[in-house]
Amino acid sequence: MTEITSLSLFELIKNIKEKKISSNEVTKSFVYRSEKSKKLNTYVTENFENCLKLSKEFDNKPNFDLKLPGIPIAVKDLFCTNEVRTTAGSNILNNFVPSYESTVTQNIWNEGGILLGKLNCDEFAMGSSNETSFFGNVQNPIAKDLVPGGSSGGSSSALAANLTPVTIGTDTGGSIRQPASFTGTVGLKPTYGSCSRYGIVAFASSLDQAGPMSKDVKDSSILLEVISSFDKKDSTSIDFKRNNYSSELTRNIKGIKIGIPKEYRVDGMPGEIENLWKKGIEYAKDCGAEIIDISLPHTSYALPTYYIVAPAEASSNLARYDGVKYGLRSPGESLIDMYEKTRSEGFGEEVKRRILIGTYVLSSGYYDAYYLKAQKVRQLIKKDFDDAYNKVDAILTPSTPSSAFKIGEKSNDPVSMYLNDIFTVPVNLSGLPGISIPAGRDKNNYPLGLQIIGKPFDEQTVLNIAYSMEEKINYKNNITDWWME
């Protein structure tokens, strides 16, 4: 039998249900591999012992009707987990132990999943390379000293290195899809309102959305089915009829209309990305899709809009970290002095930068010029998609303008770092579902991804197109275990 850790989630579930392997055997395999993979720096907090204990309990009293029967799963350290430290990659939450559980993770445990550990991420999910984490850089298993993408970099790395069968991330401007693209894995950002934000450390509330990350499309459909739910505890959660994403998954996409937006052909885009996109179009045609040229005229305004909206919301959300109720406190002579020192020591550089941008654009006299302007442009960006969806069912683009870069390569230039998200940000601004699937390699043999964007609440079509194209692309990561001890 193939090594347990390289099996897909679907295969693991099948083997457990057929009693060919036990939950404890599966858990032992992932714990063992994770223990040997410390060099990747994927885990912030390990939950190995407890996970092994719970897997035994599952085996003693198994319930094979559950959707994730006894499956160990590591999650991004942005999800609050009851009695397990939750840091959001920040010094200010270094010792924070929540007394409640996020809805998304609770949904996973309710279906038989077991917490394996908490995975590294950019501080408060602000970053595209995992380099802003207080807990250090994460290595991409694809090659040494390569970033795994961000902000869900610990998640993408752990997944590609087979340290967890699947994982969940959060995506505010591309934080699931870009790291998936950088590690040759699949990452899905659902429609805004699909997965509850309750218990997720907030970054930009009108953009944040949790989603599955997996080795193949089918696994993402299984996990989405578990985590997507209406939740009264999230005021923007939407009560709509959710599909049985995994059982309704089909490769029959004959006649489906896929749009190709000309504005995504950006200046300076490497030829490799252009070629990947062309190949993707051919694959989609082979699957029976009809290709239609479309226009999303306000695409180039998406990033500037995002860099007003996201920092503005972040500066409000992060005002709660004041050293009083939880988290780090640095001593000060007065209350104000204590606040200022706590926040100065507790937050890293990128987080401070974004809080200051957000404070500036929301400050008296500047609100209309920046924030209101951005909200208006956001309307135009969303309208572009509404118009396009009168003609097509989905949209195909590259996931990122480049493959993974080296650690340190872009960390001194915030704007060049922000450009990573050029193809993913419009999807968040418009609240749409989008998936990144591995689709090829660049000249260094680093993975490249294609993105499929869908209509609101139409994750099923997005998954079906991805599932169908995945078969034609037939991409396989070749991981050499170079980091293993």
Binding site: S99, P304, T305, R353, K373
Partner: protein, 105 residues
């Protein structure tokens, strides 16, 4: 200064502005870091000013991406006594309260 629809052209964020904003955001900054932040912010705002190209006088701002009306709920207590849980993570506390540096002289 123009305050209507368009962003200020060539607004330079100087050291004084950065210090003022950091005061508003309650983050103390060393002089050197403040200078670096001013540089970073200027390059970011230069990038943001692209929005000036668009006329948006007649565009409604997008205030909520989820087209939903806020739900009402019954005004009922749903959590048990969670005082201990809430106080557990506090950096400084006594039996019933969060403790902070003296506020009133």
């Amino acid at each position: 200064m123009v305050l209507c629809d368009n962003i200020f052209y060539h607004m330079t964020i100087d050291l004084k502005t950065v210090k003022h904003i950091s005061k508003l955001a309650r983050i103390s900054l060393e002089e050197k870091k403040a200078e670096k932040l001013a540089d970073d912010m200027n390059s970011i705002f230069e990038f943001i000013e692209k929005l000036n190209e668009l006329k948006t006088e007649n565009v409604e701002p997008l205030t909520s991406i989820a087209e939903t009306t806020l739900r009402f709920r019954d005004d009922k207590i749903t959590s048990d006594n969670i005082r201990e849980k809430i106080l557990k993570n506090s950096p400084e506390k006594n039996d019933d309260f969060f403790v902070v540096p003296k506020v009133v002289e």
